[in-house]
């Protein structure tokens, strides 16, 4: 028998030489909430280690402790077998830890190069900026990532390229451990593939990556190991080769989720009745000749790369894109004219925005006031006075229908988790009994449990006869949820798939491959002749 102390020593000795980071029995609580409870974690050199878990499982807290943002209540951190104390992000940087946060935190109005070398510029003793040096160095960094011009202003970059700038920023600090918090949440599949290729190159150079994601496909295609967290505890760590996505999901939620997606429309439910008919929608530069039907009882998916014009089309139909949009619409065989979003709401057509915190909810207003925002007149007297009781009962009814979890109906929306905030945004749509709902990325940044609930809600709505159009950058979601998917490429509908034809390959082909051809052949000519695109 070994004494505990000897056991401890032998563990250190047994720690394989390739372990770069070891977390031992870390606990952390915030007030009454135990965010982490004696968590162990180990990261090997050159591996991509996925962290999975629902929102609030403790992943972010653990990463914040590794990055020195929070201090653990108890437990130890070892880097290369040496016990360390990380008291600030600056110290974490010195130890070779780079953290790319989910939210992009760059200065939009200065150049890429200046953003990347912000820390070095800050530490520099020289009075003048040496821009040419900065640009040369930035080019060196991007040589291994992607060809981005260091002189571009960050605000002119796409979200995916901004993400790469964040990664470049971490790399210039000579980091050996790179933490990526849901880097693909705002990326399309192709952009995500580029990121994974870059990640693999980095690991080949001996960098270890901790990768936080909700997407099982990504984890299983790109990571070496996966650790699952639940309720502040470390549940299991496995090689991805040894387990299945179902295993991971089940240990994340602590219960068996039989079906990730609700059953699709059955043949009996196909009515062939058209709810919404969109005919020849055009907007000067962003989309053209968009025509499609939404049938009663079905969920229609809208796929496409970021910038293809999916959101613009949905907003254009709902009158959110101004006057330049042309085309004909009819709802339940009645032609309608939509000049602005007020017209759209009056006709029963609503749009759920993709940016929940930015423009989906009012964070500091109450849950009840959020839900009534679309039509506060509905819960008011004829004299225009809000009836608090009616407003509350509307919120309670819709909250129950969507299984919303909240403290009190008068608490601000900021007190809710991401998934529940999204349910509030959906409840807001439902408050006007819409006939057609456009949902833009309805499950972005939402945990697995809430995601599956939202899918079920959408299916129930479709079954009740509401026309549902879902825009998503997550192909498995579109394929799992929708009855039919139309693909947008470069502002036009490039194709439509249903039934067995709904595969990631088919959708990706329609969304991207033809685009490169178009880029190669048609565009330069159009530029020459000056024809507007």
């Amino acid at each position: 028998m070994l004494s505990p102390r000897e056991l401890c020593k032998s563990k250190v000795r047994a720690m394989s030489p390739q372990t770069v980071l070891k977390i031992s029995k870390i606990s952390k609580s915030f007030g009454a909430t135990q965010a982490l409870n004696a968590v162990d974690f180990e990261l090997r050199t050159g591996e991509i280690h996925a962290l999975a878990g629902e929102n609030g499982a403790g992943k972010s807290t653990l990463m914040n402790i590794i990055d020195g943002i929070h201090q653990p209540d108890s437990g130890d951190i070892y880097i290369h077998g040496k016990k360390v104390n990380i008291s600030s992000p600056a110290e974490a940087q010195q130890m070779g830890i780079g953290f790319v946060h989910q939210e992009i935190a760059l200065c939009p109005d200065i150049t890429v190069a200046e953003n990347i070398f912000m820390a070095q510029t800050n530490a520099s003793k020289s009075i003048l900026m040496n821009y040419s040096d900065l640009h040369t160095k930035a080019r060196e960094v991007f040589a291994q990532l992607s060809p981005i011009d260091p002189g571009t202003l960050v605000k002119n970059l796409s979200i995916s390229n901004q993400q790469l700038v964040e990664i470049a920023k971490a790399l210039t600090l000579d980091c050996r451990i790179l933490i990526l918090d849901e880097p693909t949440a705002a990326l399309t599949e192709t952009e995500a593939q580029v990121l994974f290729r870059i990640m693999k190159n980095l690991t080949a150079n001996g960098i270890s990556i901790i990768y936080i994601s909700h997407r099982m496909v990504e984890i299983f295609e790109n990571c070496d190991r996966v650790s699952v967290f639940r309720d502040g505890q470390h549940i299991v760590t496995n090689d991805v080769a040894d387990i299945t996505p179902d295993d991971v999901v089940n240990s994340m939620v602590g219960r068996v989720i039989d079906n990730l997606y609700p059953p699709k429309q059955s043949d009996a439910e196909v009515t062939g009745e058209v709810i919404l008919k969109v005919d020849n929608f055009c907007e000067a530069s962003r989309f053209r000749n968009v025509s499609f039907n939404v049938n009663r009882g079905e969920i229609l998916g809208m796929a496409g790369l970021i910038g293809a014009g999916r959101s613009e089309i949905a907003k254009g139909i709902c009158g959110l894109e101004g006057e330049a949009v042309t085309g004909d619409l009819s709802l339940e065989d009645q032609p309608m004219e939509i000049r602005n979003y007020q017209d759209s709401i009056a006709n029963g057509m609503v749009y759920l925005s993709e940016d929940r915190k930015g423009d989906g909810v009012f964070l500091d207003l109450s849950i009840a006031a959020n839900i009534s925002a679309l039509s506060v007149e509905q819960v008011s007297t004829n004299l225009g006075i809000v009836d608090n009781a009616r407003e509350a009962s509307q919120a309670l009814t819709l909250g129950e229908r969507l299984n919303l979890k909240y403290g009190h109906i008068n608490h601000p929306v900021s007190s809710l988790s991401g998934g529940n905030q999204q349910k509030v945004a959906i409840a807001k749509m439902l408050s006007v009994n819409p006939k057609v709902i456009f949902l833009d990325e309805p499950t972005r940044g939402v945990d697995v449990g809430a995601k599956s609930e939202i899918h079920k809600i959408l299916r129930d709505l479709a079954r009740d006869g509401v026309g549902i159009i879902v825009i998503s950058s997550e192909l498995p979601e579109l394929i799992g949820l929708c009855d039919r998917v139309m693909v947008i490429r470069d502002g036009i509908i490039s194709g439509e798939v249903d039934g067995d034809q709904m595969t990631e390959e088919n959708i990706m082909h329609l969304a991207s491959i033809a685009q490169t051809e178009a880029l190669a052949s048609t565009r330069p000519e159009q530029y020459k002749t000056g024809t507007p695109l």
Binding site: S344, D359, G360, D364, L365, L374, V376, I385
Partner: protein, 316 residues
């Protein structure tokens, strides 16, 4: 119980407690404090400005700000006075003036919603322009309006029983606006717009219209305040109301309004104005030098805002 707890945690309750404590302390510290004359003077000091506070609070909630209030109030005094001196009946002059002030608000609202400029810059420009207009109309000299008819002067100087008419007018306005802001759909839209303009637009609210009308309302209330001031002083000095905007914004912010929009109540803002007025009056009664007063009022503002910020941080 929950209701009681909610009331206890409200901003207004905290302010009332602080004001009550000040009252108790002051009534021991100075024999003149709790006298009818002092109370009346204190209330008169913020009653008219309180009307401007109402407008400013609504504008702050919508996400805007108005630095021109002091100038516009003076512009109203001067314009109404000038019209009267040129033979216009004072009631008609007042009506024209209030419409003109609404027009100033409309011009500012237009710059903000149509050109897309920031409220701060637009109202800064109009603060200077309106002041310039006052100087232009008066040629830099105060207008003497002793000839105003008594029924008109009643608005500013009269009393019903022991209570000055100004105070009655002010209390009625505050009650009406406080109720409207809390309960009517129109003002609910002001909260939605100020809380998150994009989310409001995605909820089908015409946010530009809301911002425009809030701006017009604030300037209109300035016009009303200006007319009352004219009736009260029977004079229109072009240099009146310098620095009023800062007092008014301070009162609204102490009362819980946020410069980020979406938060605030009329009652809170008025209590903020009361607190500032009580402090000013107390300092005078305690023989504290006038020169100290601004320093102390500024410190109160800073303390109130810091307290708020720390409280919010703790909650999050």
């Amino acid at each position: 119980m929950a209701r009681l707890k909610r009331i206890a945690s409200m901003r207004e309750t905290g302010l009332i407690v602080i004001i009550a404590i000040l009252f108790i302390v002051m009534s021991f510290a100075s024999p003149y404090f709790l006298t009818w004359v002092n109370m009346r003077a204190m209330t008169m000091a913020f009653a008219v400005e309180g009307i401007v506070v109402v407008g400013m609070t609504i504008l702050l909630i919508s996400g805007g700000i108005d630095l021109s209030v002091g100038s516009v109030v003076t512009f109203a005094m001067v314009l109404a006075g000038w019209l009267f001196l040129n033979g216009v009946d004072p009631w008609t002059a007042s009506a024209i003036t209030i419409v003109a002030c609404a027009g100033v608000g409309g011009a500012m609202g237009w710059c903000v919603t149509r050109i897309g400029l920031h409220h701060f810059i637009v109202s800064l420009a109009f603060m200077v322009i309106a002041r310039g207009a006052c100087l232009l109309i008066t040629q830099g000299r105060p207008l003497g309006l002793y000839t105003l008819p008594a029924e008109f002067k009643f608005i500013g100087q009269g009393a019903i029983g022991p209570v000055p008419f100004v105070i009655i007018l002010f209390v009625v306005l505050v009650i009406v606006f406080d109720f409207m802001l809390r309960r009517t759909t129109i003002f609910r839209k002001v909260f939605y717009t100020g809380s998150n303009e994009k989310a409001a637009a995605y909820s089908g609210i015409r946010t530009k219209k809301v911002v425009f009308l809030s701006t017009v309302l604030c300037s209109t209330l300035c016009g009303i305040a200006g007319v009352i001031y004219m009736a009260r002083f029977a004079s229109a000095p072009p240099h009146f109301g310098l620095g009023m905007e800062l007092n008014v914004i301070a009162a609204a912010v102490i009362g819980g309004a946020s410069l980020n929009g979406g938060v605030g109540t009329i009652l809170g803002a008025i209590l903020g104005a009361v607190l500032l007025s009580v402090v000013t009056s107390s300092l005078a009664l305690l023989d504290v030098s006038v020169y100290w007063q601004d320093i102390i009022r500024g410190s109160i503002l800073l303390a109130a805002v810091s307290f708020d910020h720390m409280l919010n941080k703790k909650k999050a």
